[in-house]
C-alpha cells in the first residue's frame, strides 16, 4: 500500500495534498500497489471530497495538531503494511514524518521535487545546502516522502467513492495546546503562492507594508518579509522568507527594499522570475534578479500598484 496524508484547511483539501496524491499514484503504479489516504482532522474534515481520490480513506478525529498525535494516526493507518507514505511538505509534516520514519525505520526523503521508482527502489530529487544544490537520492522501501508544494500536477478524482475507515487512536497527551496565535489570513498561503511580494529593511517601517499587501493582493499573491523586518517587529515570523523562515518557489518573486543576504536568497533563489527594487545599484539582490528598478521603493511601489491596476483595466 502507498499511504498518502491528505492535509486540509478544515473545509477542503489543500492543493499540496492533490500534488501528494499524484506522487503517491505514480509510486503505486510503479511498485504495483494501491493508494490509501489518511485524513487527520482538526475541525471539519473534508471526508466526502477526500474519498473521491482514494480506494480507502482512513479518518481520525485527533483534535489540535501535535507531532505525536499525527505520527500515531499515520502509524495506525500504516499498520496494514506500507511501501511508502507520502505527505505534502510543511513545517508540521517535516516534523511528524521524522517520527513516522523513525518508527518504521524507513528511508526519509524530505521536501522532494520529483520522485519515481526503479525496480524496487524509490528515487527522488531535492534541494540541499540552503537550496543551492540539487541532490538525487534513493532508498529501499519503506520510504517516507514529503512533496515540495508547487512541483507536481494536481490529481483528478477517481470517479468512484472510496471506503471510509475510522481509525482508533492510541491516547497521546504529552503536549497540550494552550493558545493558538492565529495570524490574520490574507489571501493565499506563502508557500503555495504563485506570486510573492517581499518587503525588506528598505521599506522603513510597518506602515509601508500596507502597500506591499496591496500589490500582493492585486497580483493574487502573498506577502513575504526578510529577517531584518521580522526582527524589527514590522511583520510576523510566519511571513519570513529565508534560511530561518520559509522557502518559496513562485513564478514571480518581487523583492522590495531587500538587499539580498545569502540567508534570504536561500529561501527564494529557485523562483522562476525575480524582480528587485532597491535604491542601491550595488545591492546583491540585483545580481540575482531578472528584472529590477534602481530607485526609491517609496516612489516606485505606488507607481507599480498604479501600473498593475492600469493593466488589469
Amino acid at each position: 500500500m502507498i499511504l498518502v496524508v491528505l492535509d486540509h484547511d478544515g473545509n477542503k483539501l489543500r492543493k499540496a495534498s492533490l500534488e501528494a496524491l499524484t506522487r503517491a499514484r505514480k509510486l503505486a503504479e510503479a511498485l504495483g500497489e494501491g493508494v490509501a489516504g489518511v485524513l487527520l482532522a482538526e475541525g471539519q474534515a473534508p471526508v466526502e471530497e477526500a474519498r473521491g481520490y482514494v480506494e480507502t480513506l482512513y479518518v481520525a478525529e485527533l483534535g489540535p495538531y501535535t507531532a505525536e498525535k499525527w505520527a500515531a494516526g499515520i502509524l495506525e493507518a500504516a499498520k496494514a503494511g506500507v511501501k511508502a507514505i507520502v505527505a505534502p511538505s510543511s513545517r508540521q509534516s517535516r516534523t511528524y514524518m521524522g517520527r513516522v520514519a523513525y518508527a518504521l525505520k524507513a528511508g526519509l526523503l524530505e521536501d522532494t521535487l520529483e520522485s519515481w521508482a526503479e525496480g524496487s527502489e524509490v528515487y527522488a530529487t531535492r534541494y540541499a545546502y540552503l537550496n543551492r544544490v540539487t541532490q538525487k537520492v534513493k532508498s529501499a522501501p519503506p520510504v517516507v516522502l514529503t512533496v515540495k508544494p508547487n512541483t507536481t500536477p494536481l490529481a483528478e478524482p477517481l470517479g468512484q467513492v472510496g471506503q471510509v475507515v475510522a481509525l482508533p487512536i492510541p491516547p497521546v497527551s504529552s503536549v497540550e495546546v494552550l493558545e493558538r496565535v492565529q495570524e490574520e489570513k490574507k489571501g493565499v498561503s506563502l508557500t503555495e503562492a504563485d506570486v510573492v511580494v517581499t518587503g525588506g529593511r528598505g521599506m522603513g517601517g510597518s506602515e509601508a507594508f500596507k502597500q506591499v499587501e496591496e500589490l500582493a493582493a492585486l497580483l493574487g499573491g502573498a506577502v513575504g518579509a526578510t529577517r531584518a523586518v521580522v526582527d524589527a517587529g514590522w511583520r510576523p515570523y510566519s511571513e519570513q522568507v529565508g534560511q530561518t523562515g520559509k522557502t518559496v518557489q513562485p513564478s514571480l518573486y518581487i523583492a522590495l527594499g531587500v538587499s539580498g543576504a545569502v540567508q534570504h536568497l536561500a529561501g527564494m533563489n529557485k523562483s522562476k522570475y525575480i524582480v528587485a527594487v532597491n535604491k542601491d545599484p550595488e545591492a546583491p539582490i540585483f545580481k540575482h534578479a531578472d528584472y529590477g528598478i534602481v530607485g526609491d521603493v517609496h516612489q516606485v511601489l505606488p507607481a507599480l500598484i498604479q501600473a498593475v491596476k492600469k493593466l488589469k483595466d
Binding site: 525505520k105 528515487y123 544544490v133 498561503s189 515570523y237 510566519s238 529557485k270 531578472d290 528584472y291 529590477g292
Partner: protein
C-alpha cells in the same frame, strides 16, 4: 538538571560550493557550527544559568566536527560528546546513533536546530523524539521551565501556538528564540581543557545520495533606472506581462 544541545558542523552560507565527481566538495569551504544549532546551544546555556545543572553539547559528524563542538564549549557548554561518522547519514540514522547516548545521559530536555544548513533536513528533532519516546516541539521561539513541564511557543505553517509539554522533550530551535553569544577569549582558553568524549558509530544511512549538482539559474538582469518612477514601473509591468508572462 541537564540540558543537551545536539549540533552539527556545516558550510557557512557564504561559502563557495564546488562539485567534484558528482558530489559537493567542501575542501574549500569555511565550516561552522550550524547557526540553527547555535540557538540550541545558547538556550541550553540560559536554562543552566537560570535553573542550575549541566549543559552538554553532542555533535554528530566527521572528525572535523570537533571544531564546532569546541565552539559550543567556548560559548560555555560544560562538556562534549562527539559521535564520529564520515559521510552522509539521514536523520533516522543520526537519531539511531544518538539515542543510546541521550538515553544514558537522561537530560531534562534536548535542543537541536530546526533545519540543517547542509542537508536542508528538518526531521532530526522528530526522529530523535521518536527514538526517545518523548514529545517534540518544532520551531520554538520561547521556552520556560515549569517543574515537570515546559511552556513553549512555536511556529506552525500558519500562525503560532503556546503549548505545555511534558519533560523530557525535544525542542527544535530557530531565530527569535534568543541571540547566541560569542565565545570569549577566556571561554576559548577554557574550552581547550574541556572533555570531549568520542563515540564511534557503525550504522549505515538508509538514504543514499547518488548525485549532487549546482545549477545556477542565469538571470535576465534587465535593470531599469527609476529616476522616473512612473515610467520605470510601467515598463516593468509591461515586461512582466508581455515578456515573462507572469502577470
Amino acid at each position: 538538571m541537564k540540558f543537551v544541545a545536539v549540533i552539527r558542523q556545516v558550510p557557512d552560507g557564504e561559502s563557495r560550493l564546488r562539485i567534484q565527481g558528482d558530489r559537493v566538495d567542501l575542501s574549500g569551504a569555511t565550516l561552522i557550527l550550524d547557526q540553527m544549532d547555535e540557538y540550541g546551544v545558547e538556550e541550553a546555556l540560559r536554562l543552566k544559568e537560570k535553573h542550575g545543572g549541566e549543559a552538554i553539547v553532542v555533535g554528530f559528524g566527521p572528525e572535523r566536527t570537533e571544531e564546532a563542538i569546541r565552539t559550543a564549549l567556548a560559548m560555555g557548554m560544560d562538556r562534549g560528546i562527539h559521535v564520529v561518522y564520515e559521510g552522509y547519514a539521514d536523520p533516522v540514522t543520526v537519531a539511531e546513533a544518538l539515542a543510546p547516548i541521550l538515553k544514558e545521559e537522561s537530560p531534562t530536555l534536548i535542543l537541536t536546530g530546526g533545519q540543517q544548513a547542509d542537508w536542508d533536513s528538518q526531521a532530526l528533532g522528530g526522529a530523535l523524539a521518536e527514538a526517545l519516546d518523548v514529545p517534540v516541539v518544532a520551531w520554538t521561539t520561547a521556552l520556560e521551565l515549569e517543574g515537570e513541564t515546559a511552556r513553549a511557543k512555536h511556529d506552525l505553517d500558519e500562525g503560532a501556538e503556546w503549548v505545555r509539554v511534558r519533560l523530557p522533550a525535544v525542542f527544535t530551535t530557530q531565530q527569535g528564540l534568543n541571540e547566541p553569544r560569542y565565545p570569549t577569549l577566556p571561554g576559548i582558553m577554557k574550552a581547550k581543557k574541556k572533555e570531549i568524549k568520542k563515540v564511534a558509530f557503525q550504522g549505515a544511512s538508509r538514504v543514499e545520495i547518488l548525485q549532487e549538482s549546482i545549477q545556477e539559474k542565469t538571470r535576465l538582469q534587465k535593470i531599469l533606472d527609476g529616476k522616473d518612477p512612473v515610467a520605470a514601473a510601467e515598463e516593468l509591468v509591461r515586461l512582466l506581462h508581455e515578456e515573462a508572462k507572469v502577470i
